[in-house]
């Protein structure tokens, strides 16, 4: 695919806006949280346009609450459509999750039960968003701390079916695969092997934290530190299966300097090099 040689990108955060424009750091691309740039102008939007003049940019939504059974927020969707029209992003992505019900918003990425009902609901929602933005979108797997007793489908099968039925692609968050695998006791390689090779168009890497509840460990998706060794190892396995797809370092809490973020991105580039050498 065309993005195959794109070097690893980093998330665009408000505290780095001016520095990114002044210094053009040595990273492949930027991912912007769509909601941070809503509106019809203003300063954040101007920064985003300036970053876009220098780099490819993807729009990553965190608030559309696609899996919610409340009606899709047409105003929110309209903002995404307008932003995508202006920015001409590399990708438009959202999550396999819900965050609101009955008009109350948790502004979190809550997991869905993996049922036929939820699958059909997500297929309908993805179709609705894709019709609005006029292009296929990417859907990301989330970290989860609960599993529902009535789930009938494995998460990877759910994602594969969603991609197949809706025509969307997947944003494989390697950290989220690892976190959920450890929390729920499945083999993360089973997850990777359950995802069709040609459906993954982007990967995320991030840090997470480990908490104890009684005798049990639980991993929380905190995005507040470097990528751990186990997730790097899983990333290597993902590269083997899915090839060299655009990769992003997500580090949006306890945010380090641009240089540190660029250094973390280079670690991902280094892991892609053997694939490029093989292809050459």
């Amino acid at each position: 695919m065309s993005g195959a040689t794109l070097r690893t990108g980093i998330g665009l955060r408000a505290i780095h806006h001016e520095e990114v424009i002044a210094r053009s750091p040595d990273v492949g691309w930027f991912e912007a949280h769509s909601e941070n740039y809503f509106g019809r102008g203003g300063m954040p939007r101007r920064y985003l346009a300036q970053v876009r003049e220098r780099y490819p940019v993807s729009l990553h939504g965190v608030g559309l609450s696609m899996g919610s059974t409340d009606p899709l927020d047409e105003i929110h969707l309209g903002e995404v459509v307008q932003l995508a029209r202006e920015i001409e992003p590399l990708f438009v992505s959202e999550h396999l999750s819900w965050g609101s019900a009955g008009g109350r918003f948790t502004n979190d990425l809550l997991p869905l039960p993996h049922t036929e009902e939820a699958l059909q609901h997500m297929v309908d929602r993805v179709s609705q968003v894709q019709d609005a933005i006029g292009r296929p979108m990417l859907i990301e797997n989330v970290s989860s701390y609960v599993q529902f007793t009535h789930s009938q489908i494995d998460e990877w099968e759910f994602l594969a079916a969603l991609a197949q039925k809706s025509g969307c692609y997947l944003l494989l968050d390697v950290n989220n695969v690892y976190v959920s695998a450890m929390n729920h006791g499945f083999d993360p390689l089973r997850f990777l092997n359950g995802i069709p090779r040609d459906s993954v168009r982007e990967m995320h890497l991030a840090g997470h934290s480990v908490h104890r509840i009684g005798e049990r460990e639980i991993r929380i998706d905190t995005h507040d530190g470097p990528v751990c060794d186990e997730v790097w190892a899983l990333y290597a396995a993902a590269l083997e299966r899915f090839g060299s797809v655009p990769t992003l370092i997500e580090w949006d809490s306890c945010i380090p300097s641009l240089d540190e973020l660029a250094a973390e991105a280079r670690k991902a580039d280094q892991r892609q090099e053997p694939l490029h050498a093989r292809a050459a």
């Binding site: 954040p44 948790t106 979190d108 005798e215």
Partner: protein, 261 residues
């Protein structure tokens, strides 16, 4: 097996601390009690809200201290939970909340500071607009001036404080090293908030000029706005105030409204 709708309504209620016994029975425990698993998401809901509020109101956080800010944010969230997927809006009722919370106390000024920080947030993201020049007035007949109605720049906001709020704001910026003692009873600031191409600015206005411009911003005719200003300053002349609107690129629309009968 709950329908998806039922699961989402009940799970949301549980996160907002309402009793809903059924949720725990739908969750696989696997070594960790369901209630503790739900608590992880309850914690996310609380911490995410506090963090987003702190991003919008850094001066309030600095004035209250982190621990007390967290307590205030939790009380505020209980009264005003998020109503949209975009968190920007959550700060809108914060100043009125603080006004009610600290009415009659020495912390009444928190509400003014929050109103200024909210105006700052709104000014940052308001739409762009093309400013008019003095030529816009060239075709206006003298008799029509009192019926002029103005559109001010969408980033323009007015904050009518009861304390020297701009000094408080400036003394509490991260780059400011200040042990300045600010007398809360000193002259109250009437603030025009606007956005230049570079940043958001605060302009302290004399009371009569503030009365004129804030009345114009809310859609009053020039004649009516002038009456507001002249209540405060009998000989008030609007010429300087209108020139300031033009110089600050705040005037984006102008029309003669039909006189009221």
């Amino acid at each position: 097996m709950p329908a998806l709708r039922e699961l989402q309504l009940e799970f949301t209620a549980a996160l907002f601390n309402e009793p809903c016994a059924s949720v725990n029975s739908w969750i696989r425990e696997d070594g960790i009690p369901a209630a503790e698993r739900v608590d992880l998401y309850r914690n996310n809901l609380r911490e995410g809200f506090i963090k987003a509020l702190a991003v919008g109101f850094p001066v309030i956080e600095r004035l209250t201290g982190t621990d007390y800010f967290r307590q205030l944010a939790r009380e505020f969230q209980q009264q005003h939970p998020s109503r949209a997927g975009n968190l920007h809006h959550i700060g809108e009722p914060f100043a009125p909340f603080l006004r009610a919370r600290f009415a009659g106390s020495q912390y009444e000024y928190f509400a003014d500071v929050a109103a200024l920080e909210w105006a700052h947030q709104c000014a940052l993201i308001a739409p762009d607009a093309q400013a008019l020049t003095a030529d816009a007035f060239s075709g206006v007949a003298a008799a029509d001036y009192e019926n002029l109605v103005f559109d001010l720049h969408p980033a323009c906001r007015f904050v009518d404080a009861s304390c020297p709020v701009v000094r408080i704001w400036r003394a509490n910026q991260p780059e400011t090293q200040s042990d300045e003692l600010i007398d809360l009873a000193a002259a109250a600031d009437k603030v025009l908030v606007l956005r230049t191409s570079e940043c958001v600015e605060f302009h302290r206005l004399p009371a009569a000029r503030f009365a004129l411009l804030s009345a114009l911003a809310s859609g009053a005719r020039l004649g009516v706005a002038l009456e507001h200003a002249q209540l405060l300053e009998g000989e008030f002349d609007p010429g300087d105030a209108l020139r300031q609107l033009l110089e600050l690129n705040l005037l984006v629309g102008l029309r003669v409204s039909a006189p009221s009968t």
